[in-house]
């Protein structure tokens, strides 16, 4: 409700605003005419199939890919193309990370302190304290000295979330944080993100997973080479919108406390048997 009010009102200034953004690689367009506003304390999901341009959009926002056209505004300031927003956290896709790299969980988290403290060649006592505090907050303080490659998928994601948070960012962008996790880990991560959001953090995460992730988010942006629709899942997740987003027939059932989405009746039966609680909506209310 609060988020719906925020979006219907122009009085609140967006934290991040994207105006008419277009991007591509070589001569191939990835997306065009993207207009988006993210407000402070908003938890949003960028939902779309693999290869629809979600990662490229996140990378353009982060200044890692140059856009073809359009503007990005952060806290009322226009960002130069290719410039990262001044205070942002980023959790990349796990597939892009070299897990055999010789660093411990604590060292990875302390990397995120660079912007806060970049004069000394080595991390300060305060850096260590903050890193330990964040590892405690994400529930893996006991693994601080463990090599990053020896942690489980869920623990690695928590380390990366801690690194994204350790610089005290205004907003955190997560690229498919649940893509290679099982249901239990997805549940834990969503719970953690909901908690952080309740404490005031603005979050944008991308996902192609509708049932176990997207339906539990308070705000979703359906994306496929451009924005198809955005709003609360109960309003946005209709057969028509999802068909336009995912390019195939979709069956959508709205129950009292959850939404079930499937591409066929047999998969819908499996979804009905799945009793994953609607964590985010519960905590949001």
């Amino acid at each position: 409700m609060l988020l719906a009010l925020m979006h219907s009102s122009d009085r609140m200034e967006p934290l991040l605003e994207i105006k008419n953004l277009a991007c591509g690689y070589q001569a191939q367009s990835v997306f065009t005419h993207v207009n988006l506003k993210l407000y402070p304390k908003q938890l949003s999901g960028l939902v779309g199939p693999s290869g629809c341009g979600k990662t490229t959009l996140i990378k353009v926002i982060l200044g890692l890919v140059h856009p073809w056209a359009g503007e990005i505004w952060f806290r009322g300031q226009r960002l130069q193309p290719g410039a990262s927003p001044p205070n942002v956290g980023y959790v990349p896709q796990v597939e892009t990370v070299d897990w055999s790299f010789p660093v411990t969980a604590e060292e990875v988290v302390m990397m995120g302190r660079y912007r806060k403290h970049n004069v000394s060649p080595f991390p300060s006592k305060r850096d260590r304290q903050v890193a330990r505090g964040l590892l405690h907050r994400v529930g893996i303080e006991n693994l601080a000295r463990s090599p990053i490659g020896e942690l489980s998928g869920g623990q690695q994601q928590r380390v990366f979330i801690a690194r994204a948070l350790v610089g005290e960012p205004d907003i955190v962008l997560l690229d498919e944080p649940t893509s290679s996790s099982d249901l239990r880990v997805q549940h834990e991560l969503l719970h953690l993100l909901a908690e952080l959001n309740q404490q005031g953090l603005t979050i944008l995460l991308s996902t192609h997973d509708l049932n176990s992730v997207a339906t539990h988010l308070p705000w979703v942006i359906c994306f496929n080479h451009g924005i198809i629709a955005q709003g609360e899942p109960t309003e946005v997740f209709t057969s028509e919108t999802l068909e336009r987003t995912f390019g195939g027939e979709m069956i959508v059932i709205h129950e009292s406390d959850r939404i079930l989405i499937a591409s066929s009746l047999s998969t819908l039966r499996h979804q009905m048997q799945d009793n994953l609680p609607s964590i985010l909506r519960q905590t949001h209310h």
Binding site: T96, V108, M111, G112, Y114, R115, N118, P121, F122
Partner: protein
């Protein structure tokens, strides 16, 4: 006892031991960056590319270190520029380095007057280093170690994840340039000691042994530096008694140490697993 100290009575041999230790230390430290960034092939290729610059500086009567250093730096930047433009890094390295190496050979075959120097460049000539060379290697080692110390945090972040490092404010392009410069400087100064063909072992083997022994980047650097210096010293020292080429002696010794450490850690792990299994039963 006299027998043990006999090599030190020759000034050129003491000089060779000192310069080899410095070069081993420097290659060990830089090797940690190179192996963890999976750039071993770049280092190997650049050492060959630098030959072109070395020969050209000789022909143009330029200072070897400056001419070959600039050549190596430019080659590293061209490789970086080509990579990603529909060309993979390994192909870019292949194109740039072989072209540069071929240029060196072409000039040598035209002039036909520095076959001996060519051999030294290929296989190293640590026993032929001059006092001036020792000073250059010491100075470059000192400068590069200072840079590693000063830029430890941004270089570590850049090495682990370039994209996320940029988002967190690390000047990644400056790090690209800085590392290319450091790489070129290291290769040019150590080229005469181990030679184009053998230098990669001094870069890769101590860092790989350090990786087996440690899961921490900083600790790896200390291990790799000590191993690099120690193995180079022992390799050159032993070459005196076994009467083999000094470069080859260093490489063979480092390979033996690598094998021993690998075997030792495997045995240790197996024993640990057996103890853990017996506790479970």
């Amino acid at each position: 006892m006299d027998l043990l100290f006999r090599p030190f009575q020759y000034e050129f041999f003491s000089r060779a031991l000192l310069v080899a230790m410095l070069a081993g230390l420097l290659c060990g430290v830089m090797g940690v960056y190179i192996t963890t960034r999976r750039m071993s092939y770049i280092a190997h290729g650049l050492s060959h590319a630098i030959l072109g610059g070395a020969v050209l500086s000789y022909v143009l009567q330029l200072n070897f270190y400056i001419g070959a250093g600039i050549w190596g730096f430019v080659a590293a930047l061209v490789i970086q520029f080509l990579t990603g433009r529909k060309i993979y890094a390994d192909a870019a390295i292949g194109i740039v380095t072989t072209a540069s190496f071929a240029l060196g050979i072409a000039i040598i075959s035209t002039y036909r007057q520095f076959t001996k120097n060519f051999e030294a460049a290929l296989f190293g000539n640590v026993l032929g280093v001059t006092p001036n060379d020792v000073w250059v290697v010491a100075l470059v080692t000192l400068i590069l170690l200072a840079l590693v110390f000063i830029f430890y945090r941004p270089l570590l972040f850049w090495c682990f994840d370039r994209d996320v490092a940029k988002v967190h404010g690390v000047p990644v392009f400056a790090m690209d340039v800085l590392f290319a410069l450091m790489l070129a400087a290291m290769l040019v100064t150590t080229l005469q000691i181990l030679g184009v063909t053998l230098i990669i072992s001094a870069i890769v083997i101590p860092a790989s042994i350090a990786r087996i022994l440690s899961d921490r980047f900083g600790t790896m650097m200390i291990y790799a530096a000590l191993l690099g210096a120690g193995i180079s010293f022992a390799g050159i020292y032993l070459s005196y008694y076994f009467d083999v080429a000094s470069g080859a002696s260093v490489v063979l010794l480092s390979t033996v140490v690598f094998g021993i450490v690998l075997l030792w850690t495997n045995v240790k792990q197996r024993r640990k697993r057996r103890i853990a299994d017996s506790h479970l039963l």
